[in-house]
């Protein structure tokens, strides 16, 4: 997919059309001159909370959530195999749901809370260790998508069966064929989580 223009967007005040170089300056202007807060977002501006951090940015209508998270925010854990919704490697958790960043328009994600593989690793989730322990990757390209999907499953269902794990991971493809290892890694992480919880 082609990307839209990379020029820094002009930040126009919605009340008096004064222009500013950065969104922060525009905000300061609106609060001090027009005495209003919060600032109504100009068209195309979205706020995303990614791994707990708020990002405000201007997006073009055709930018996917993948493009924003990977290309703009630089979070490389979200991967792309197919760009058509058929492989799960671009999975992120949005408001609790494992969804495909390649099939979501960023402009429709204003106000959403998103978790990526980076956030899962930073939070020291046991999935990461158990994935390493069980050699759940060969090339590793699909792995963040699997882990993110598995995290969404464990958030909802802390004690899944093998079948439930396999069903939840059914939309994630692995070209290297690591499939048999995933249920083992996920079940062990689930057990670790339950033990940590009961301490």
């Amino acid at each position: 997919m082609k990307e839209g223009s990379k020029a820094t967007p002009l930040n126009l005040c919605p009340y008096c059309t004064a222009a500013f170089d950065t969104f922060e300056e525009l905000k300061t202007h609106v609060v001090s001159v027009h005495k209003t807060e919060p600032l109504p977002k100009p068209a195309g501006w979205i706020a995303l909370t990614v791994n707990g951090q708020v990002h405000e940015l201007k997006v073009e209508p055709e930018w996917t959530l993948y493009q924003v998270i990977h290309d703009r925010l630089g979070l490389m854990g979200v991967k792309m195999f197919c760009d058509r919704g058929a492989c799960g490697s671009c999975t992120v958790i949005m408001d609790g749901r494992p969804i495909l960043a390649c099939m979501s328009l960023a402009i429709e994600c204003d106000g959403k809370h998103i978790q990526t593989a980076e956030g899962i690793a930073e939070a020291k989730h046991p999935l990461v260790e158990s994935y390493i322990k069980h050699h759940t990757m060969q090339c590793g390209y699909c792995t963040p998508g699997f882990i993110t999907t598995a995290k969404a499953l464990l958030d909802r269902n802390p004690d899944p069966t093998v079948e439930e794990v396999m069903e939840a991971l059914g939309g994630n493809l692995c070209r290297c064929g690591t499939y048999p290892q995933h249920p083992k890694a996920v079940l062990e992480a689930a057990q670790t989580l339950r033990e940590e919880g009961s301490k």
């Binding site: 055709e62 919704g85 328009l105 204003d110």
Partner: protein
């Protein structure tokens, strides 16, 4: 993707007025799982000028029982329907159809409205960059009729158009078997009457009309419903053939049956011959088999899809058998 104008609509009226302004040049976007793939591949002769997001409309995502009906908002995600205890309890065909559609991620994103309004998957039609400007795109011929047609219609083409592309939805046959209605921004009609094969269209919806809800009558006590699907992989894959049934019985005999196949014809295909055959009969292997035979007796397969006839027959049989009162849940 090339750019387009984008609107986050707040109300159904707003959607209608934007669609009216753009005519055929705008599309609504719900989960986007079908539409965005089409746009990335530059599939259509005319790239949309505008998208109207309907996920931003509050109150179109719900599942509730109301006066002997199940009401489901058009934006309700397939995954939420599949997991809903109410749906799983009394509307098994719909619960199974939503559970078996696409992949877990796509079910978290895909809506019931979008699933019913999704476009065909004929691989000539879907080839990137409008490589095959076929009949269904307003072009001169069908490439599948004498080409690779192993996933195409076994019950003939649409008469005026000569198009053999099957309808790919998993939820459509379930809603039709359950005798559901669809509510749009301007009318209510039977789901069965929603589908229409036209250039660039799969439904009778006008260019400024959207689906807002579904209404499923609560089945009577001695009624069971089922959904079975045959696909190459258990998840992600579209159905090669699927089938839903709803059967009411009394004293061990069928009093009323509704059976619907999909992915075998240009629209969901009511298996009326199976329904007629089962009337007054007990549900057993022999009868279910004969009902399947009756349905495919007038199949007209193309060069490469003869195998689908056998699958359709077995899907009808299994869907019927799964409606036995003592039936274990169907395993396909």
């Amino acid at each position: 993707m090339r750019t387009f104008a984008h609107f986050n609509a707040r109300t159904v009226d707003e959607v209608v007025s934007i669609l009216r302004r753009y005519g055929e040049r705008a599309h609504v976007i719900a989960g986007g799982t079908d539409l965005l793939g089409k746009m990335k591949d530059e599939l259509l002769p005319k790239y949309p000028e505008a998208l109207v997001n309907i996920k931003s409309i509050p109150g179109l995502e719900y599942i509730r029982e109301d006066h002997g009906t199940l009401q489901i908002g058009a934006l309700t995600r397939l995954e939420d329907i599949a997991a809903d205890p109410l749906v799983r309890g009394k509307y098994n065909a719909l619960a199974e159809a939503t559970r078996r559609a696409a992949s877990p991620h796509l079910r978290e994103m895909g809506t019931l409205g979008g699933n019913i309004c999704q476009d065909i998957r004929c691989w000539y039609y879907r080839h990137p960059d409008n490589r095959f400007p076929c009949l269904r795109k307003g072009g001169g011929r069908c490439y599948a009729m004498n080409g690779e047609n192993r996933y195409h219609s076994i019950f003939g083409a649409n008469v005026e158009q000569g198009c053999y592309a099957v309808h790919p939805s998993d939820t459509a046959p379930a809603l039709i078997a359950l005798n559901a209605k669809v509510k749009t921004s301007r009318r209510t009609l039977a789901v069965e009457d929603l589908f229409e094969v036209r250039v660039g269209k799969t439904t009778v919806l006008d260019s400024d009309e959207i689906v807002t809800a579904f209404e499923v009558p609560t089945p009577a006590k001695a009624t069971k419903s089922s959904f079975v699907k045959f696909a190459l992989r258990k998840t992600i894959d579209f159905p090669i053939v699927n089938c839903a049934a709803m059967i009411a019985s009394e004293g061990g005999r069928v009093t009323a049956a509704r059976v619907c196949l999909n992915a075998v014809y240009v629209k969901p295909y009511r298996a009326t011959k199976a329904e007629e055959f089962m009337a007054g009969q007990p549900i057993n292997e022999a009868n279910a088999e004969a009902a399947g035979d009756a349905v495919v007796s007038d199949a007209k397969p193309l060069q490469h899809n003869g195998y689908m006839v056998q699958i359709a027959k077995v899907m009808v049989k299994r869907a019927i058998l799964a409606c036995r009162s003592e039936a274990p849940p169907a395993q396909t």
